[in-house]
């Protein structure tokens, strides 16, 4: 395996933490990042990602993929669908973009191979798994095999957050010396507000609870 790594970077807490994990693991000179513009509700997350990369001296490429919005309707890509404030029982929340990580990681892999990059880094996480099947470890492992067969190439998909709680993800950012960047510069909020966010959507609640838990752990 070579040392070159490509991070799938959305500009949220998780993928940003992964960016700095990759810089620590592979060396800044070996890391680059890609993001995807798929008509998501808040294009501002790509601006966050771009600013974070600029500050860190990392090359960031945004790939346009409106097809994701064409293929399935959901609350993150269609302004007319309201985000669920409570997770529905027994079904994924209506923020599910069917096959999103499947496509993101496939695009990233094609891009990576054409740039001689073998390591792919993604912030998917099973621990806060809220009904998104393509965030599970078994899916990522299966996709790794499929991508290697599809392109006759040895990719290694890294998922540094797979088994971490949100509190442990904050801890990782702190150990990497970037907790201030993650706290202030990333966008996780479904209502498109960077840093602390709107404070009331499910993503903000998850993020704040994790942060408070980490602060408690630390003290």
């Amino acid at each position: 395996m070579n040392k070159k790594a490509l991070v799938v970077l959305s500009g949220g807490q998780d993928s940003t933490t992964c960016l700095f994990w990759a810089i620590d693991r592979f060396g800044k000179e070996n890391v680059s990042a890609v993001g995807f513009d798929y008509g998501q509700r808040h294009i501002k997350e790509l601006e966050c990602a771009s600013g974070i990369c600029k500050d860190a001296g990392i090359e960031y490429t945004v790939i346009n993929t409106p097809i994701i919005n064409e293929l399935s309707a959901n609350a993150l890509t269609r302004a007319e669908i309201k985000v669920d404030t409570q997770k529905p029982e027994g079904t994924p929340p209506n923020t599910l973009v069917e096959g999103r990580n499947l496509l993101f990681l496939s695009y990233a892999a094609i891009w990576a191979k054409t740039h001689d990059i073998q390591n792919l880094v993604t912030g998917v996480c099973e621990t806060d798994f809220s009904g998104y099947p393509d965030c599970r470890d078994i899916f990522v492992k299966s996709l790794n095999v499929t991508l290697n067969l599809a392109m006759d190439y040895d990719f290694c998909i890294h998922t540094p957050l797979m088994w971490l709680t949100k509190a442990q993800t904050w801890e990782l950012a702190d150990k990497l010396g970037v907790i201030d960047i993650v706290y202030n510069k990333t966008l996780t909020c479904y209502n498109g507000i960077a840093g602390e966010g709107c404070g009331s959507c499910p993503a903000c609640n998850l993020r704040r609870r994790g942060y408070e838990e980490y602060v408690k752990m630390k003290n």
Copy 2:
């Protein structure tokens, strides 16, 4: 498994034969088809596909996916790259579109799930395998598992041509009663000429040799 089936239809010999295989297997009322406009050299193949579906009374949807052209450069999508007339030794021909079947089948699966379709039909074929890793049976089987995990859904990918020679594919079209349609209405030629084609590119040679072999077998 339900009986609904989605055929990935490019308008070439192989996928057109698969369309009629699917109609025979699942019943016309259960079959629909998708094609992809990825900036390929000969958009005429989608017109062939559309005409064939219209005549057969099958719904055909074209999905735009310019991202495939953005992600990797090759002779089928870039007019400035000349198609190899001879297959190079040890490497795939420069008509390889990296990850193409990976993406086509992933898009088809997302589309299928949103339309309650469980069966996917593709004309990929290992027998005339010319260096395209994502035409191999092991890739398709691995992708089937990955897609099922990605969307928590039971897809079944059918590859009726996987182990057939080109002559046997003509034989299948004949058995299905559609050899005239396949002979006259499909486009396989790299130079964009439907039916018998230009007669000199690798795709035309392969197609003609297969047809001649089938005619010999039959007589």
